[in-house]
């Protein structure tokens, strides 16, 4: 087979590996990415992004990230981008020994994307830069190419931003995305080196077998490095968060029975799923527990850990607490983006609490998204329709479960709060489960016995 075709096969193999990795081994990293942004099909939103240096790369990255809601689609998009970068690099280095190295920038970007806070805009920035270089190379040398360069450089600056400072490549503004810069630099340096060693490269073309071996070595070594440096622990935590977000209670039970979680988010989600199945108190000590912090942990001021706890608050009927927790989590997103998941929950909590105009505001924003639009359209007619809300299986139940007595509370959930919640609506079996579990975890026999007495009287 012709060498060029074989090279394409390597590219396809590389792409397939990327798809399989993100689709099978890393899907919840993609879900995690998606939940910390809100791509709006709105001119003001687009303008706010593109007016910054690097805005085009950022916008393209955000656009692609919205598809990460479906992990396989996200994996496919990443594979396309990384493969495109490899192909362009290969074109620019013009084969030979340098073909083998053309995979390295894409591998570095894959490495970069192992970090859940690495943003796809960075990958787009590399791709756009390579496209510009390729365009420049393709142009006939002379005044035309130099004129194009003069025009393209400022446009490129606007599209991909200043390479070394302050652009939106990582969710944490203070983090220097070294791997991204290394990939970027290498993608540009390799063609230069290929040009410098052009004669030598032509004279010392590797044999086909050497070329295959070298390519396979690079793919295996880099692939092993990727695998070794993947954070599968974080992936597991993200899986629990994802399952809680999508209320996959059965799947959570199946997962915890395969491998008992021993991290805070996993335990919180495990206990919520058990409680949703009415099995929390019965099976409490069959699983790892983290004291009362595994039930309703104190809310931290970050964007990630509060969300599963907020799900528990929400399901319990502590709707205003859930609302505050979600609001604060969204505010804590480090790059100041908004979140589709949070907007949806804020719309729901405001709807349940009767703040219809605030709910409408969130819903109308979600109408400008690709994947939350249908849900927003279905939910909007509920606003102000008390009868429909009362009949709604989720919102009606949560309204009935809500606190009836007003009292002040702080960040810390107390057993008194759970008692008040349960005794103001004794159909709220979830509150009872949590209250009993609270007593069991703290060893508060008096409260537990008192609770049993009171519940038997009620019955």
């Amino acid at each position: 087979m012709e060498m060029k075709k074989i090279q394409y096969i390597y590219t396809i193999l590389f792409g397939v590996a990327v798809v399989l990795f993100f689709g099978l081994a890393y899907p919840h990293h993609l879900h995690y990415q998606e939940q910390f942004q809100l791509f709006l099909f709105d001119s003001n939103y687009v303008w706010d992004v593109v007016k910054q240096p690097g805005g085009i790369a950022d916008l393209l990255g955000r656009f692609c990230t919205q598809f990460f809601l479906f992990a396989w689609v996200g994996a496919f998009i990443i594979a396309l981008l990384l493969s495109a970068i490899q192909l362009l690099t290969a074109r620019l280095v013009n084969g030979g020994w340098f073909f083998v190295l053309s995979f390295v920038p894409s591998f570095l970007l894959w490495f970069f994307l192992l970090d859940e806070n690495a943003l796809l805009g960075g990958v787009w920035a590399v791709l756009l830069t390579l496209l510009a270089v390729w365009l420049f190379v393709k142009l006939p040398k002379g005044w035309l190419s130099y004129s194009v360069m003069v025009v393209v450089i400022p446009i490129l600056y606007w599209m991909v931003g200043p390479a070394w400072t302050g652009t939106h490549y990582h969710r944490y503004p203070t983090v220097v995305p070294t791997l991204l810069y290394a990939a970027w630099l290498l993608a540009l340096v390799l063609p230069l080196l290929a040009n410098v060693f052009k004669k030598w490269n032509s004279a010392h073309q590797p044999s086909a077998i050497i070329c295959h071996l070298a390519t396979i070595v690079v793919l295996v070594v880099m692939g092993t490095l990727i695998w070794k440096n993947s954070n599968f622990k974080a992936e597991k935590v993200m899986q629990y968060d994802f399952m809680a977000c999508h209320q996959q209670w059965n799947r959570i039970i199946e997962t915890i029975n395969t491998e008992k979680p021993n991290n805070q988010i996993g335990v919180t989600v495990q206990n919520l799923a058990l409680a949703m199945h009415g099995q929390l108190t019965a099976q409490l000590f069959e699983y790892h527990q983290n004291g009362i912090h595994g039930l309703l942990p104190d809310v931290q001021t970050d964007a990630t850990t509060p969300l599963p706890t907020a799900e528990a608050f929400y399901q319990l009927g502590m709707v205003s607490v859930a609302q505050r927790t979600v609001f604060e989590a969204q505010e804590a997103i480090m790059d100041f983006q908004k979140s589709g998941r949070c907007y949806k929950r804020l719309a729901q909590t405001n709807l349940i609490l009767g703040s219809y105009e605030v709910a409408r505001k969130y819903l109308m924003a979600l109408q400008k998204t690709l994947f939350y639009r249908d849900w927003a359209n279905e939910t909007l007619p509920l606003l102000g329709d008390e009868e429909a809300i009362a009949k709604h299986p989720e919102y009606g139940r949560l309204r009935r479960s809500a606190y009836k007595n007003n009292f002040f509370f702080s960040d810390h959930v107390t057993p008194e709060m759970l008692e008040d919640l349960y005794f103001s609506y004794t159909d709220n079996y979830l509150a009872l489960e949590y209250l009993k579990a609270y007593c069991m975890l703290t060893g508060d026999r008096d409260r537990y016995n008192n609770l049993l007495r009171r519940t038997s009287v009620k019955q």
Binding site: T301, S320, R324, F327, E331, F336, E357, K361, N406
Partner: protein, 490 residues
Amino acid sequence: MKQILSLYILLLLVCGCTTETVSDAKQEKALPRIYPDYLGVTIPVNVAPLNFNMADEQASLIDAVITDSHGNSLHSQGEESVDFDIDDWHALLGQNKGDSLSVTVSAKYEDGWHTYQPFSIYVSPDSIDYGLCYRLIAPGYEVWSKMGIYERDLSSFEERALIENTQFEGCVNCHSFNRGNPADMSLHIRGPHGATLLRHGDSPLTAYNTKTDQTLGFCVYPYWHPSGRYIAYSTNATSQLFHSAHQNRIEVFDTASDLQVYDVEKNELLLTPLLKQDSLYETYPVFSADGRSLYFCAARALPEGNHQLDSIRYNLCRIDFDPATGTFGNQIETIIDAVAQQKSVSFPRPSYDGRYLCYTLSDYGQFSIWHHEADLYLLDLSTGESRVMTGANSEDTESFHNWSTNSRWLVVSSRRDDGLFTRPYFCHVDAKGVVSKAFMLPQRNPRRFYRERFLSFNVPDFIIAPTRFDGHKASRLINDDYRKNFDLHN
């Protein structure tokens, strides 16, 4: 080919500029329902166009014709909102100072055009200041996302950031000017780079550490003395608790608070035992128009271990202040005994002409921003009588407010729009204290603007000119470790 192309472009331009004639309109007996509600409002002669939308969102076209008594008219038509030409608008207002304009609104629905009864807008000859300065921040609890201080030209729609927290790690709050003059400015930065930025007259912007070993903590709510020499500050130990089942979500309260005055020229804090009593929570200090009184809110402190937040109520109090010597009087006078009415005063703001003092009255506490029942009241300083400012108030929260430098306009923070996001409204207060109906800060397309902005307008204050605040220089100061310390007066 060229000719066809030119014709096509011309056609596009013509189509883009044409307006549909309001024909066969059904004459409605009702007034139009528009957003924002500008019906019967009084506006300053130099305000930006009052563009509006139909409230119901069903209309495919909205048409408005403004006419005056001299035969002039101004027309606008749009799909979402009317958008008056800004120069024509200002010209029309200029010709009608002290007179009323009549606005006829038509809207096109599926069944055709409907024309509503005209409503009037009164153009006050009292102008409003150049602009408004405010903080934009999500109405949250403890964590903040992107936020900053912004200025808005009130005669146009132009908004500019003074400083945003993208430039440093932390948050920015409590901007304050001396009677709208941005040459005298105080601004707090919170977070790891905490500081108070001060500039006075021609002196350069300086970052201060306002915490001393004899005060509760960092200086908080600022208010400039009319001379520009002093700034009154509170120091507050603030906490928050949450409601389980109440229309108000959150209660922000002080567990201790004191007052002090900072002498800008001597770099000294002036203290008095009367304003740092353990048994009292003192907050929101403001100087009177003549600078010889310091008004503030004061509540009896809760005994230790008592968490009955709904029993904390603040009165409006006053103490003498001698600007020549920087000394305080020796007694505190209660100006409004809100406790006797089972109410609580917050945000006192004297008009700069010395006639009135506007304050917020809520059921309890001092952070009335989160109190849906909070309303504005006007105290006549010559008679001592207070009355509710009906024109400025709504069913929802009215809280922070400030006077224009001519003391004829009040900017009011209100949550009437949706119950959560604070918007600025303006009302006119005439020489007799008659308060006009409040109108919302104009925007080019108000519904789109306010719907898409998920931020509250916080601490709105008038400015008489652009602040000329160098945000980059300020961020350099903030990110630098150097802080000049506030000294204590011995």
